[in-house]
């Protein structure tokens, strides 16, 4: 089993452990029930409490009804604010949590689709660890429905689980912070880190037999269907405006050649180094538009061309050695 990435200790470990045992594993779509939403004053809230205390004591001592009324009103204001803050988080719905595969050493970007009472800009997702990694809203921050992004550094390859995260908010007055822990069964595929500078092995024998016509490096080669995570810059907007579905431009470079990447041929390196070298080769080959075959011990060789083939191979490298089979 892969280890979850850890850096720093969780805050409030006792309460956190108790809460997680109490609420168990979460599944999407998830609506945050009030019974799992916790609340405490913020530093600003404690300052406010001190202020109320001072006014109360002054009013009591001087027998000044106006000051007392003022103190009671501010205290009641804080009570309402507390309820409002808690209501802002309770009932929030989490629809989706996903992240595109990334390479080890990079940062996975999780996207959460959220809908609730609180504006996205006031909601905060974090991994509840030091240093904090706060979320950012990708939609307009004043909307109450949209997605939030959370970044998670992933140093090692494999299928990495989303750690327990915390959703919190201190809206509308910043006097209280309400939060809940969410333990989602979501994971991100982390490819091995591309590394190594060994010579790219040429496959013996014939050409790939690609039928596509190739031109210069920057020439548009083909359009393919839009996939989640594609850069908006690559989208063929003109075609879309003409009524076509969302398409993504792909470019092709040099003449396709066939390569052979063999795990066992990489002698003198340890497993992780071999995987890194293979990753480097595959990434480069895909970028050059070459075709290749990947041979890993204990599995069928994978042969093909293009980004889909690349992703299949990388997934297999990511999960190499784990019980889970590749895609």
């Amino acid at each position: 089993m892969m280890r979850i990435f850890r850096s720093g200790k969780p805050r409030q470990p006792v309460l956190r452990g108790w809460a997680l045992r109490r609420q168990g594993q979460d599944a999407l779509p998830l609506t945050l029930k009030a019974r799992r939403v916790y609340i405490l004053p913020t530093p600003a809230g404690w300052t406010f409490a001190l202020l109320i205390g001072v006014i109360f004591i002054a009013g009591m001592n001087y027998g000044n009804g106006l000051a007392l009324l003022f103190a009671f009103w501010l205290a009641a204001f804080a009570c309402v604010a507390m309820v409002q803050t808690q209501r802002g988080l309770a009932g929030t719905a989490l629809a989706m949590a996903s992240s595109q595969p990334v390479f080890a050493g990079e940062t996975a970007t999780w996207r959460f689709d959220i809908r609730g009472r609180t504006a996205l800009g006031d909601l905060r997702l974090d991994l509840d660890r030091d240093p904090p990694s706060p979320s950012t809203a990708t939609d307009s921050p004043v909307t109450t429905e949209g997605s939030l992004q959370l970044r998670q550094p992933v140093p090692r390859r494999g299928r990495i689980r989303l750690p327990v995260m915390r959703i919190s908010s201190s809206a509308p007055f910043g006097l209280f912070r309400t939060w809940t822990w969410v333990n989602l069964d979501a994971s991100v595929l982390v490819y091995p880190k591309p590394a190594g500078d060994l010579h790219v092995p040429e496959a013996p024998g014939h050409d790939t037999g690609s039928t596509r016509i190739e031109h210069g490096m920057d020439e548009l080669a083909w359009l393919r269907d839009f996939r989640e995570g594609d850069s908006p810059r690559q989208i063929a907007w003109k075609a879309y405006a003409r009524g076509a579905p969302l398409l993504v431009r792909e470019y092709r470079g040099a003449a396709a050649r066939r390569r052979e990447f063999d795990f066992d041929a990489l002698t003198g390196l340890d497993t992780e180094q071999r995987l890194s070298q293979l990753t480097r080769w595959i990434v480069d080959a895909a970028a050059r538009g070459e075709s290749w075959v990947l041979r890993l011990p204990g599995s069928e060789p994978l042969e093909g061309i293009g980004n889909e083939h690349r992703d299949d191979c990388l997934a297999r490298l990511a999960l190499y050695g784990s019980k889970e089979p590749g895609r």
């Binding site: 205290a75 009641a76 204001f77 309402v80 604010a81 209501r87 009472r117 004043v142 006097l175």
Partner: protein, 666 residues
């Protein structure tokens, strides 16, 4: 929350702090207010990028400097005035380092404490809106710091904080009624050390050429039972014994008390005294005792509080309208109240000796002098001429014009010149019933002076020479009795009855506020609980009742907040798109919820060919803004979209008419 303080919260907090300083502008030294204004200006310019905020060293220096300046000018940091000044300058120092939301919260707190300090000092009903506005501003600032929606809209910040404050009212009221009060103070209230208009320790009628008619309230009275007639309502204040020929002073105070017998039944009343800065308490003749305040009673019937009256004060009093002295006047007392300066006011002294020799007794002599004031051609005026060094002679034989102080002074001088003990009593006379709440209002313009004369067998007896000079004075008050004032009456007090009614209502409201809210103490709390039938509840019971009420309130609040389903707030781009869909539906284009923008565009172009070009561009722009990685808050793009939508709507308008016509035919 970003790390920099955004524009709107900063503006609100600046305004809240400035408003807090305005509440104190007349109570802190001028330089404090100047420092506050400078800090606000500095902060604003720094925010605009014109100047830099001071660095840490300079900031600490400024804070130390300001703090020591307060210390030097007040010689203390305790006490309300010094505390307020300290708050104002510390807020100014804080402004110079306000960059983060945390600093913003501190600034909001300073503003709220400034409101508290102002409320401790002055609790008038008229100031309430000011306190309220400042508090609201500070809370709206907290809202603008606390959530993104309020951070971009002042209206929303005020609405959010206002709504929360509104929901808070029931709990606040519950706490106000049910939180047990302390029977006394935890520590003594520092004296404010300021003197307000009121009666002074001395009286020099000759030095005043114009008595201002101040309409300020001196005190308000509630009688438990029928009130005494106006002519009996003499409210005693300082008693003056020592006369130097021009000025009356209180003089020495070590005189034995004369026994007295209280004849008429007790009269109970409740006095709500406005602050006047000295210790005098005002009571009706003849006073028996007070409740609800610590006081001293002097040999001459003067009553003083142990503490200066720096805030609204109230007490219960018992007086007897009829009383007489049963004892004898002591030698010290007689000497004190017959003393006249050598060689002063010779003409009046001669007149006195003359009149006394023609009289059978002291009582007869007093009658004659009263007659003299009635027939001597004296006139009552609030604008008398200034008097000579020998003020009594000048009044009696030259000017013959004066107000109560003049006549009382001259009357007492005539008494003493004939060897009859006499003293001048100052205080208030009269009081008008407020029809709204039935309380009697006594104003500064009701200030009065009269004389008490010792008559054998009777003791101290009140004589009011002003009453014979101008009988209206006793019936209607100083302002009406004065001819000059009568001429001005239209502008001064307003004869218009609606204006008077308005004033009565306002004063009654102010009285209620003072009595029931500001002075709500343990006794009133007990009374209120008794009224609700809960007299045996006790402190624990009150707390339990409070807990129950609070729980009920919380349930209602939860119900109220849950009643509203979470409303999805959409961004501007989505709203434009939805308006586009609405236009299409009105033009007869079928739009389903699951349709994507591409499908909708194709259908719209097919069915509305006259606007096909605009629809195409609109949809392309929308998709670019929505999915093209553009800024969803791109104002220019939005404006373009809206203009395009208006164009589509206009181009297809005829279609709507045609459809309506079709519908009509059907």
């Amino acid at each position: 929350m970003s790390n920099a303080l955004a524009r709107l919260p900063m503006l609100m907090l600046l305004a809240a702090y400035a408003a807090g300083c305005v509440l104190h502008v007349d109570r802190v030294p001028g330089w404090c207010t100047t420092v506050a204004a400078a800090a606000v200006l500095w902060h604003w310019l720094a925010f605009r990028g014109r100047v830099a905020l001071p660095n840490k060293v300079l900031r600490v220096g400024i804070a130390m400097l300001l703090m020591s300046a307060v210390l030097v000018s007040f010689r203390t940091i305790g006490g309300l005035a010094a505390g307020s000044a300290l708050l104002v300058v510390m807020g100014a120092a804080k402004l110079l380092e306000t960059r983060t939301p945390r600093d913003g919260v501190v600034l909001a707190t300073v503003s709220l404490v400034l409101v508290l300090a102002a409320a401790l000092d002055r609790q008038g009903l008229a100031l309430l809106p000011l306190y309220f506005a400042t508090g609201w501003l500070a809370l709206a600032g907290i809202a603008a710091l606390g959530n993104v929606r309020a951070a971009h809209s002042a209206r929303r910040a005020f609405l959010q904080s206002g709504r929360t404050a509104l929901y808070a009212i029931p709990l606040a009221a519950l706490c106000f009624v049910l939180v047990p009060r302390l029977p006394g103070a935890l520590w003594a209230m520092p004296g404010a050390g300021r003197s307000e208009t009121g009666l002074s320790d001395e009286m020099s009628p000759g030095s005043i050429s114009e008595l201002s008619i101040s309409d300020d309230i001196a005190f308000r009275v509630r009688f438990d039972g029928p009130p005494p007639p106006p002519a009996q309502r003499y409210w005693r204040g300082p008693v003056l014994h020592d006369f130097d020929g021009y000025t009356w002073r209180r003089g020495q105070r070590f005189v034995p008390l004369v026994d007295q017998e209280l004849v008429s039944p007790p009269l109970l009343y409740h006095v709500m005294l406005e602050p006047h800065g000295s210790r005098y308490l005002f009571v009706l003749d003849t006073f028996e005792k007070l409740d609800g305040i610590a006081y001293n009673q002097f040999f001459d019937g003067e009553v003083q509080s142990w503490r200066r009256i720096t805030g609204p004060t109230s007490y219960d009093a018992i007086s007897h309208l009829e009383a007489r002295n049963t004892g004898e006047l002591s030698a010290t007392g007689r000497r004190l109240d017959t003393k006249l300066p050598e060689g002063r006011n010779p003409r009046s002294a001669a007149l006195a000796r003359n009149m006394r020799s023609e009289s059978d007794s002291n009582a007869d002599y007093v009658r004659r002098v009263m007659q003299y004031f009635q027939d001597g051609g004296f006139e009552y005026t609030l604008t008398p001429p200034l008097l000579d060094y020998d003020s009594v002679d000048d009044l009696l034989f030259n000017t013959r014009l004066g107000f109560c102080g003049h006549f009382a002074s001259a009357f007492a001088a005539l008494m003493r010149a004939a060897g009859v003990p006499a003293r001048v009593v100052t205080g208030y006379q009269g009081g008008i019933r407020n029809p709204i709440d039935g309380r009697y209002t006594v104003r500064q313009s009701d200030a009065h002076a009269w004389v008490e004369v010792w008559l054998e067998g009777q003791g101290w007896t009140r004589f009011d020479p002003t009453g014979v000079v101008s009988p209206e004075r006793l019936q209607r008050g100083a302002s009406d009795a004065s001819a000059a004032a009568l001429a001005n009456a239209g502008t001064l007090l307003g004869e218009a009855s609606w204006l008077r009614g308005l004033r009565d209502a306002w004063e009654a409201a102010g009285g209620w506020w003072q009595e029931q809210i500001v002075d709500f103490n343990r006794a009133k709390q007990v009374d209120l609980l008794k009224l609700m039938g809960l007299e045996r509840i006790g402190d624990v019971g009150m707390v339990l009742l409070l807990a129950a009420g609070g729980a009920l309130w919380a349930l209602l609040l939860l119900a109220l907040l849950s009643r509203r389903a979470p409303r999805v707030r959409r961004d501007a781009l989505t709203r434009v798109w939805e308006r586009f869909l609405a236009v299409l539906r009105r033009r007869g284009v079928e739009v389903m919820d699951h349709d994507g923008p591409v499908a909708i565009r194709q259908r719209a172009q097919r069915q509305l060919p006259e606007a096909a070009g605009d629809i195409d561009l609109f949809a392309a722009d929308y998709m670019r803004l929505r999915f093209g990685g553009g800024d969803p808050d791109d104002m220019q793009g939005l404006a373009k979209l809206k203009a395009r939508l208006a164009e589509i709507s206009r181009a297809t308008r005829s279609r709507r008419r045609r459809q309506t016509a079709t519908a009509d035919r059907e």
